[in-house]
Symmetry: D2
Subunit: 362 residues, 4 copies
C-alpha cells in the first residue's frame, strides 16, 4: 500500500477529525503510506484543488476538535452531481471522472467516512466501478446497522442530555411543560437515549407514532400526583398516529409547518388540548458540534486505525464496526441492506416504559 485517500461526507458529527488523524497516523507511522485528503466529500475528486497531501503535521492537535479539516459537501453525489450550467442547476453523472482521478492518482484505497447516504455512494463506487473503498460509519443518529454504535452519537447524546438537565430545574421551579426537539428524522436513538438519561417524562420517536391525547393524559396524571411540570423529548421525525398533522388551523390562526417543527406543533396541540403552558427549545445543530466525548474519541481512533489495516489487507467494500467492545469489520452491503431503527423489542424500550416514561402510544 503506497497511497490512500480519505474523505468525509454528509452532515457534521463530532469525531470526524479524530478519524482523519487516526487514518493519517496509522498509514504513515505503521505502513509508511502516503495519505491524500479529499476536500468537501466526493466533490474533491472533481473540483480544482480538491486533492491535497495530508501529513502528520496537518493532524496535530485536531483530536479534540469538532468539525472536519477536510470540509464536507452535503453528500455531493458523483453519480448525480448538481452543477450550475448557464445559470441553471442541472444534474450530471461525474462518476467516470472520479474513477479517472482515482486511477491517475494511483490510489490503493479510498477511506470514506460518512453516514448512510455517503456510504451508499461508496458501496456503489465499489460494486459498479471497483473503487477500493473502506467505510467508516459516522452519524449522530446511530442509524447504521452492523455496528453497536456509530461515532458522533455518544457526543450528540450527551449534549441532548445536558439540555434536559438544564430544563429540569426551570420546569420544576416554574411549573412548566418543557419540550425539547432533538435530531432524528427516521431513527429516534438520540431522543430515546437522552430522554432516559435525562429523566424525561415523555419521549416521542419516529418509530412509535404518538397520540397527542396520550401525551396529554401523562401530563395530567403527573399534575394529579403533584408534579406540576413535565419534560418532553421529541425527535424531529416523530409524528402522530394515523398520519394526521399535529397542528390545526383555528379560526384565522394558521400554524405553518415550515416555520414550526414537531416540537412547536406538539406545544400548540398541548396548549389547545390540555391547556398547559409550554416552552419549546430546538437544539438543532448544537448536537453536531463540540468536542467529542471520550467514547467517541476512542471509537474514532480505533475505527480510523482499523480502516487503514483493512485497506492494507485489501479488504475493500468493508466497513469498520464496533461489536461488543471490539472493533471488527462488516460488509458494506450487509450494513446498508436495511435502515436501522430503534427496535421495539429492545430492553431499552422496555426500560423506558418501566421508568414510567410515556412513549405516546398507550
Amino acid at each position: 500500500m503506497k497511497k490512500l485517500a480519505v474523505l468525509t461526507g454528509g452532515g457534521d458529527a463530532p469525531g470526524l477529525n479524530a478519524v482523519i488523524r487516526a487514518v493519517v497516523k496509522t498509514a504513515i507511522l505503521r505502513y509508511n503510506c502516503e495519505v491524500l485528503g479529499v476536500r468537501n466529500g466526493f466533490d474533491g475528486f472533481v473540483d480544482e484543488g480538491g486533492i491535497f497531501p495530508l501529513t502528520l503535521g496537518d493532524v496535530r492537535g485536531i483530536l479534540p476538535r469538532g468539525g472536519t479539516i477536510l470540509g464536507a459537501a452535503n453528500r455531493g453525489n458523483p453519480f448525480a452531481r448538481k452543477v450550475m450550467r448557464d445559470g441553471v442547476e442541472v444534474v450530471e453523472d461525474t462518476s467516470q471522472r472520479v474513477i479517472e482521478r482515482i486511477q491517475s492518482l494511483n490510489l490503493d484505497a479510498l477511506i470514506v467516512i460518512g453516514g448512510d447516504g455517503t456510504l451508499r455512494i461508496a458501496l456503489k463506487l465499489y460494486q459498479q466501478l471497483s473503487v477500493p473503498v473502506i467505510g467508516v460509519p459516522k452519524t449522530i443518529d446511530n442509524d447504521i446497522n452492523g455496528t453497536d454504535f456509530t461515532f458522533g452519537f455518544d457526543t450528540a447524546l450527551n449534549t441532548a442530555m445536558e439540555a434536559i438537565d438544564r430544563l429540569h430545574t426551570t420546569a420544576e421551579s416554574h411549573h412548566r411543560v418543557m419540550i425539547l426537539e432533538l435530531m432524528g428524522r427516521d431513527a429516534g436513538y438520540i431522543a430515546l437515549y437522552a430522554g432516559i438519561a435525562g429523566g424525561a417524562d415523555v419521549i416521542l420517536i419516529p418509530e412509535i407514532p404518538f397520540h397527542i391525547e396520550s401525551v396529554c393524559a401523562k401530563i395530567q396524571d403527573r399534575v394529579a400526583a403533584g408534579a406540576f411540570f413535565s419534560i418532553i423529548a421529541v425527535a424531529e421525525g416523530a409524528h402522530p398516529a394515523g398520519g394526521e398533522r399535529v397542528y390545526r388551523m383555528e379560526g384565522d390562526q394558521v400554524f405553518l409547518p415550515r416555520l414550526g417543527g414537531i416540537g412547536q406543533q406538539v406545544a400548540e396541540a398541548l396548549a389547545a388540548s390540555c391547556g398547559v403552558e409550554t416552552r419549546v427549545t430546538v437544539l438543532g445543530h448544537l448536537q453536531r458540534g463540540g468536542s467529542p466525548t471520550a467514547f467517541d474519541r476512542v471509537l474514532c481512533t480505533r475505527m480510523g486505525g482499523a480502516a487503514v489495516r483493512l485497506a492494507a489487507a485489501s479488504r475493500f467494500g468493508r466497513m469498520v464496526a464496533l461489536r461488543g467492545g471490539e472493533v471488527v469489520d462488516v460488509s458494506l452491503e450487509e450494513a446498508l441492506a436495511r435502515p436501522r431503527r430503534v427496535s421495539l423489542d429492545s430492553d431499552l424500550i422496555q426500560t423506558a416504559r418501566e421508568m414510567g416514561i410515556s412513549l405516546g402510544d398507550e
Copy 2:
C-alpha cells in the same frame, strides 16, 4: 431581628437557591433569626400553605442546583393579582392581605429576590405600605442598574457561549451561516457578551436596530475573504431599523411571527436577500437552567448574606449590589429609576467593532 421571610419571583435564573441558602445560613447562624419561605412569589402570602419555616436542613446541598426551592410565580403581583372568579379571570388588589399577613407573622424583614418586575412590586410595598423589604437583583438579562452584574447572568452567558463554540465547528466545516437566538427582550447583554466570547461575526441587540443589508454585506465580505461561514448571535428583542418587520409575505408564502422568532426571521431574510443557507438554533430556556458558575455562586452567597445584614440593620428599601468587586447596597428606588441597557459608549461596543464584528448598523 427575630423573624424574616424570603421569596423568589419572576423567571428562573441560576443561583436562586444559592441566595436562599445564604439568607437562611446567615440569619440562623449569625443572627439566630427565624426564617420563613414564601412559596411562588408574592402569591405565597395569599395562598394556603404559602408560608413555611426554612431550616438549615432545607438548604443543605442546594448551592449547586438550578431552580428555586421556593417556586416562583411569574411576577404574581399583589397589587393586581389575576384570579378566577366564577370561571372568569379578574384582577384584584390583594396588597392589603399581604400586609396583614406580614403583620400577623410579625416579620421583621422581607427579602425579595427578583428581577425588574418583582423588585418594582417590592419597592411599591415598601413605599406605599411600609413593608420592610430588602431586594436582591436577579436576572439573566443583567438589566438592572446600580450593580455591576446581576446574578444568573454569568451562567446564562457561559451557556450561550458554549452554544456558539459548538456551532463554530459545524459552520466552518460545512460552510453554513449559523444563527443563534438568545434571550434579551430589551437588553442585549447576553448576546453581546456571548457573541464576543464566542467569536461571533454578527451580533444583533435591541439597543442597535439593524439593517438586514448590513448583515448581508458582512457575510459577503467574509466569503470574499475566503471564510465561507458566519455565526450570528441575535437577541430575541433585536429588531430592524425603521420599525419594519424583517419578514415579509412573498406571493402566497407567509412567515408568521408567532411561530418564528427573530432568529427565524433573520434566517428567512438572509436566504431571500443573500441567497445563503442558514440554520437557526433557539437556545430558549436552556439559558435559565443549569448549575450556576463560580462567579454566580459566590455573588449569590455574598448577596444573600449582605441582604440579611441589611435587614438586621433595618436598612429597608435597599438592594444589595456588586460594585468593583465589593458587595454594597443601593436604594431600590434609584436602581429601578430607569431601565438598564447596553451603553453604546461602552468599551464593550467599541471592542466588538474592533474585533471586526458587525452590529448590523454600518
Copy 3:
C-alpha cells in the same frame, strides 16, 4: 415477588443513584413490589436502622447525581466484619445474622450493586447460604468480566480525558512534561482509554511493566522532532519491569513511596535520567465523582430494571451485563472466575501503538 432489598458496596462510582432509582421504579411501577434500602453495604443488615423502605419519592431527582443515597461501607464483609470490642479491633463472622435478617424481613431478592469485592461476597452468600442475590457490576476501573462495560467507567474516563485536555495547552505552551496519575490499581482501562482519547504521548498501565529508559527515549524523540512537551498518563498500579522501584535514594535525598505515588516516582526518575522538567497531577477521587455521562445513566437505568426482572424470574446468582449493545445476564460465578485485565491482543493496544503512543515497553 413481594419485597426486595438493594444495597451498594465499595468505592464510589458515578451512576449508583441511577441504578437505585431504576430498581425502585421498576419494582414498584411494574411489579408492585416493596423495596427496602440497606444502608452502608452489608453493614446495614447488622446495624441498627440499617434497613428502611425506599419509595418513589426517595428516588426523585437522583438520576443525575453522583454518590449513593444508600451510603457505602468499604466492602464491609459480613463473613469477616471488623468491629471494636473492648477497644480492640476484632474480626467476626456476621453472615448468620445477615441471613436471619433477610429471612425475618421475608426478602424475595437482594440486589447487590458493587465491584469485584462486593460481588464476591454476594456470590458467597448465594452459594453458601442461598441468599437470593442479583448482582449489578459497578466499578470505574472496568475490571469485571462478562460485561462489555461496567457502569461508572465512562464517566471516570471522561473526567480523566478532560484533565489531559487541560494539561495539553500548558504542556505545549510551556514546554513541560506533564504527568497525570489516574486510578487503576490492577487494570489500566482508565489510563489506556483516557490516554488515547486525550492524545497522551506515553501511557503506563499495570498490565505492561515499563522501563523508565523507554519513557525517556520517547520524550527525547519528541524533542528531537520539535515537540518540546509530552503528556504521560499513568495508572496508579503501573510499575517498572523487573520489580525494581522507580525511585531511588540519591545521597541523602530520600523519595518515600508513602507520600508519593507512581506519578511522583516517574517524575523523579525522569528528572534524574532525562533532565526534563515535570509536573504531576494526581486526579484521585475526582474520578469517582460528578454527574454520570449519558452512557452511564442509560446503562445504569437498564441494568437496574434488568436486575429487578431477573429477581422476578427468580434467576438468582446472576449478574446483569452489557453485551453488544443489549443488556443481558451472566452467571456471577463465571463473571468473577478470573479478574479482568486489558488484553494485550486487543485492537486498543494496537491502536495505541499505531498512534505513536509509547507504552513504556519498547
Copy 4:
C-alpha cells in the same frame, strides 16, 4: 503607530490567546498597524527566530483555546538571564540587547501580558530604559492590584469549584474528609472563592495562618451534628500559625515536605490528631488549562483592545484594568507598588464565616 510587539510571560493562564488575538485584530483592523510576536517571553528578543510577524490568519480560531501561541519562558528576565556558558549556568544582564532589538525593529510599543514578575520587568524596562511598554495583568491567582480581576482567575476558579462539586458526592456517600489542594502561593483567592462556590467546610489560605486543632474541631462539630464528611479547600501557600510545620516526625515515620504539599501535610496531621480518614487531591496544573470561561474571554478581548488603544495614545507605563465593569487603565508602578492579598476586612471573608465555613483560625 506603525509597529508593535506582544509577548506573554510567566505561568500559563486561560485567556492568553484571547488577549493576543484582540491585540492583533485591533492593531491591524483599527490602526492598520503591524504586529510582531515575541517568542517565549523576553527571551524572544535575544533568541534567534524569537521575533516573527503576527497576522489575522495566525489568530484565527485561537479565542477558545488555552495556552499561548507565543510560548512563554518562565519569566526569563532580561536583567538577569540564566544562560549556559561552558557547561556552567551563569546569570547575565541582557537588557541592553533587548533595547537594541526594540530600537532596530522600530517598535512603537511593546505589549507585555504577564503576572506580577513579568510586569515588574516591564516596569523596569519602562522606567530605566524608556521601553514603551503597556501591561496586561494575567494571573490565575488574582494577585495584582489596580484591577477588580486579572484574567485567567475566573476559569481557574471554575475548574477548582467543579473539583469540589465532584468530591462532594463521594465525601457524602462514603463518610470521608476530602482535601483539595489548590494553587495560591501567597494569595488565597482561588481557594477562598472556590471554597465558597463549592460549599467547602474548611478553607485554608496564606493570609490566615491556621491551627490544625481548629480544623479538627470543625470536623468533629460536623460529625456531632450528623455530617460524617467534610471538604477542605487548601491553598498551596497556606501554613500553620506560629510558623511550625504541620507535619512531624513520629518514631521512624518521616513526612518529607518535598514530596507532600500542604494538602498531604494537613491530611497527615488530621489523621494523627483527629483520627479521620482523608483523601487528598492536588489539582495542580489543571487550574492553568482549559478553554477560558465567558468572563475571561470577554475580559481578555477588552483588555487586548484597550492595550492597543493605550499604545496608540502613547500612554506607556500603564496597565489595562477592570474597574466596576469598565475597562480602564492604571499606572504599572501603582499597580505593582504592593502585592495584592485577600483583605481580611472584605465581605468575602465575612460571608465565608457566616456560611459556617472554618478558616482555621477560630
